[in-house]
Symmetry: C2
Subunit: 215 residues, 2 copies
């Protein structure tokens, strides 16, 4: 019956030991599944299949489904907020230029479904897992908001920016980008994010000069 080897190759091993590469692969697969189906509807089995191992193996690296989401947030957006804060801090001398650079960077990120997926997930699960919302508020959004407000205030102090309410200015800066991201990735509408230069140019025309005709 069973041909006795020799001619028969060693049958390709069913799996290989690759402990180092696993966590990242699993997270990547999880992000893809979560993005496509949402957190609750995504199945661990499918994530495992996409990552090329068994469902049980996932539990060797992550204790629960929820832990996958936490790790994703940590990995994908936490550094991002930090980077934004750094950029904002570095640009205090020339706030308008810093805002422009930030805007370009953010627009590029917003165009990437993988990046937008994370806040989308947060919106989806915040009702059930308030601690996720809390983490996101404190570690990501509040941090970025604070940095931007400082940037605005520095601009006001230096006379480069009109005396405006800092919180309102930050909303006016971030809000439109958020809106376009939702339109693009949630509603799948024709997006302006494909042409970031034009988008930024138009945004800054309104942001800097306002709607009212200048005297």
């Amino acid at each position: 019956m069973a041909p006795k080897s020799a001619s028969a190759r060693v049958p390709a091993p069913r799996w290989r030991r690759r402990a180092e590469a696993r966590p990242e692969e699993i997270l990547e697969a999880a992000l893809a599944e979560f993005t496509a189906k949402g957190f609750e509807a995504a199945r661990m089995e499918d994530i495992a299949k996409a990552a090329g191992l068994s469902k049980a193996a996932i539990y060797l690296y992550f204790p629960s489904k929820m832990a996958l989401l936490e790790a994703l947030i940590e990995a994908k957006v936490s550094p991002l907020a930090h980077q934004a804060a750094t950029l904002a801090a570095a640009g205090q001398a020339d706030p308008l230029t810093a805002l422009r650079m930030l805007s370009t960077a953010i627009a590029a990120l917003m165009a990437d479904p993988k990046v937008v997926a994370v806040p989308r997930l947060v919106i989806g699960v915040c009702g059930r897992f308030p601690e996720i919302a809390e983490y996101y508020r404190v570690q990501v959004v509040a941090k970025a908001r604070g940095a931007l407000e400082q940037l605005i205030e520095a601009g006001v102090a230096g006379g480069k920016i009109r005396k405006v309410d800092a919180a309102a200015a930050v909303r006016a800066f971030i809000g439109p980008l958020l809106f376009e991201a939702m339109w693009t990735h949630v509603l799948k509408g024709e997006t302006a994010l494909n042409d970031p230069r034009k988008l930024i140019e138009q945004q800054f025309d309104v942001l800097l000069n306002g709607l009212e005709p200048r005297a």
Copy 2:
């Protein structure tokens, strides 16, 4: 044992026939549950209990859980978009005032968790049910967006508004409100929506005059 009635009142009926009032009550309960736990995690049993009937009875009025969400969107936000469009159309003669009024109305809506809940749900389930996203894009957002753009363009044509890109102006108008709504209801942060007058005033200072110091 069991006291033989006579003295015992007719036991309060376990339920009453109220077919007309049911659908609305069910939808209200569903919205509350969906808001608190998200679409997937909300249980039909709990919705039924909150609406004061049995789970099976829900299926006399709605064929599926998904139908509840569809009916909710139809009932809660579709008229809202229509109203926005009407207001925008009516205000073409004085676009800036119309924008102010719209802003106030929208801020009031954004402060209401029940209203924000619906778009939140859409964001959560859009991956699994693209037709929901499609409906929402076409029937709600595109409609409102279009009306606002017309309003802006009318303002530009009449000299009341600077020559700006209409889409950018709409983003600048809506984005900040959306951002604040998410901050408030998803991240549970301290909100500016509690003081709508101040919020609108600050938003319009930036929106109309921009960030750049005026000559």
